[in-house]
Symmetry: C2
Subunit: 366 residues, 2 copies
């Protein structure tokens, strides 16, 4: 049996066949879809470790157990009969930006597009945990999905834990609907966890079991995966909340093969979105010269704390080649770096976006 | 301005950064989603040459003109008020299989997953053309989308033509709904062409204009793109109908990084789908030894001529490494090759799928 470790890093600029298989499965948000405040279904990013399970909602049950006073077992209908909450949440993969690191950590090769902002509907996790009566001494809650596979040599079902305090936050949902429709299979049908402000690996899909525990969970996805390390032998800091990021809709039109942007000279409104799990978005700056000079973008209305925030910036585009950049700062003082610190797993790379554009003096004939 | 030609071929096994940008945007059907007869929204393949246009349905109009007796201009409401047809159609990208060719043509690097089977609802194209009264001497119908960009050095809106006889086929639809819901933005909202049996480039998205013409259309996507060539200077044969293909749901569970399949020894039902634009699926064969010995799969019920057909095959999996393959043959006698002929654009590679599996003697502990 193939018990490979993650293959490490690739110092070349080229992507391997194995990474291409991952890229063909796991898709990102095409950046022009930042134009939609709520990401339409099918444009939201997806990162699926194993296969999408086919789940029969008639026989599926959610089990809540472990260090609780009373175990629960709930059908989908029973969950849907409870008071529902709908919340807009921006979700981002912890590996977003991975393929821009050098040397490149080998895994799903995201560039910038592993993000989406959806309206999730479901029941607050805290209410269920209260009903189950969390026992004294409990410290974490473990969430187990139905997706199975082998990773880092370990056969597993996907499992992650949250500290009890995070799990009890009122914003944390068990969601059965996305953008007003049933949860699509690829987003965790029939039920998924949604943890606003945390990177996406936390929001376990195809949820089947919730276990309250009194020792730190040391499953693969907690102790091995999703840690910031410089070398494999380090324990590493866990990846938790989303670092600030801003992304722009690349202006103009693309060249098919290179995605280079082409636009006509003159006034252009550059638009984008910004978010952070560490604090509200406080500022977005834009540069048209590759990061030499920056000026402030206008922030759109502040809506849900956990949803991205729109911004725009007026640019008088002069003929020639330019590099547009944007940079978000949150209320806690975290700003996007021009160059992110490297780590072995390729996590949390929130370097500023760079969009080369070719501004033409005349109107494009298209 | 960047006026590059397509960058040609890459003899290495590695994928370039430009191809990765395409792979991150254009996503395929995760192969386990072959389990669904109708592909859920968001799992259907997508190939988008330029950006997804944001279209206001209130001001959008479809124009029908050119060599007709009476031009038409129709709103979305007017189209929706006409008698509607719903048809299940398997659509496949002409570039499916491209990244498996050697040397690899540089473009969207599909492996096998650029396919989907959706239920499209709309109005028959033929009825509209009859209403507009096609003039004598007309030979083709040109479809223009709202997506704009630069390709092969040419600034363009995406445009393709169909011979008049193909355009008048009763199965050809102008679709405004997919799987019972409004067309998603990425599938061509508010209206797209759906040409059953032809590769996907024909089914123009974000449709705005239909022009009947009396000379062969020589736009970029007709005369330069989507032709089978060995060298750039050749005129080449146009890519038209979908060649036969079968795909299986890879059995067992995947290893995350390599997608290698692992399963326990014993009886396994291998399931998949098969389709061809050139004739009905007549036969599917499966091999468990890399294509040395083949045996017939059981075909599922034959439904819509233009939708894929289910098949299954019983396998008694013995411990060890095996390579599963499947091969479809259509009623016109076209069969999938073990090795497809190479072409410069990387089109229509319908080589048999090969799925390496690792069969373990004992039950997997997952």
């Amino acid at each position: 049996m193939l018990r490979s470790e993650l293959p490490g890093v690739d110092p070349s600029g080229q992507i391997s066949a194995a990474e291409l298989q991952l890229a063909a499965r796991n898709h990102g948000l095409p950046l022009e879809a930042l134009a939609y405040d709520v990401t339409p279904a099918g444009l939201h990013y997806l990162l699926i470790h194993y296969d999408i399970p086919v789940v029969d909602p008639a026989t599926w049950r959610l089990q809540v157990g472990g260090r609780v006073g009373g175990e629960l077992e709930l059908s989908l209908d029973e969950l849907r009969a409870r008071p529902a909450v709908t919340r807009a949440v921006t979700m981002e993969c912890a590996g977003n930006g991975r393929a821009r690191l050098s040397p490149r950590p080998i895994s799903q090769p995201w560039l910038l597009e592993a993000v989406g902002n959806a309206e999730w509907t479901g029941v607050p996790l805290g209410a269920l945990l209260e009903e189950a009566r969390v026992a004294e001494g409990a410290i974490e809650v473990v969430f187990r999905g139905l997706d199975r596979g082998v990773e880092g040599g370990v056969a597993q079902q996907y499992e992650r834990s949250l500290p009890l305090g995070e799990a009890m936050r009122e914003e944390v949902l068990l969601a059965y609907a996305m953008n007003g429709g049933p949860l699509p299979p690829q987003h965790g049908f029939p039920l998924r966890l949604v943890v606003p402000g945390w990177y996406g690996m936390t929001s376990v899909k195809w949820l089947a079991q919730i276990a309250v525990v009194d020792e730190p969970f040391d499953g693969y996805q907690q102790a091995r995966g999703y840690r910031l390390r410089q070398a494999p032998e380090e324990e590493g800091e866990p990846v938790t909340r989303i670092h600030p990021r801003s992304l722009m809709v690349p202006p103009g039109v693309p060249e098919f093969a290179t995605r280079m942007r082409v636009l006509a000279a003159g006034p252009v409104t550059v638009r984008g979105r910004a978010w952070s799990g560490l604090g509200e978005v406080a500022r977005v700056e834009v540069s048209a010269d590759g990061g030499e000079r920056w000026s402030d973008a206008r922030l759109g209305p502040s809506g849900s704390r956990w949803a991205w925030r729109a911004w725009e910036w007026e640019w008088d585009a002069e003929p020639g080649e330019h590099e547009l950049c944007c940079r978000a700062t949150d209320a806690a003082g975290n700003a996007q770096p021009l160059e992110a610190p490297w780590n072995l797993g390729g996590y949390a790379n929130n370097e500023v976006q760079r969009v080369p554009v070719d501004v033409e003096a005349s109107q494009l004939d298209v």
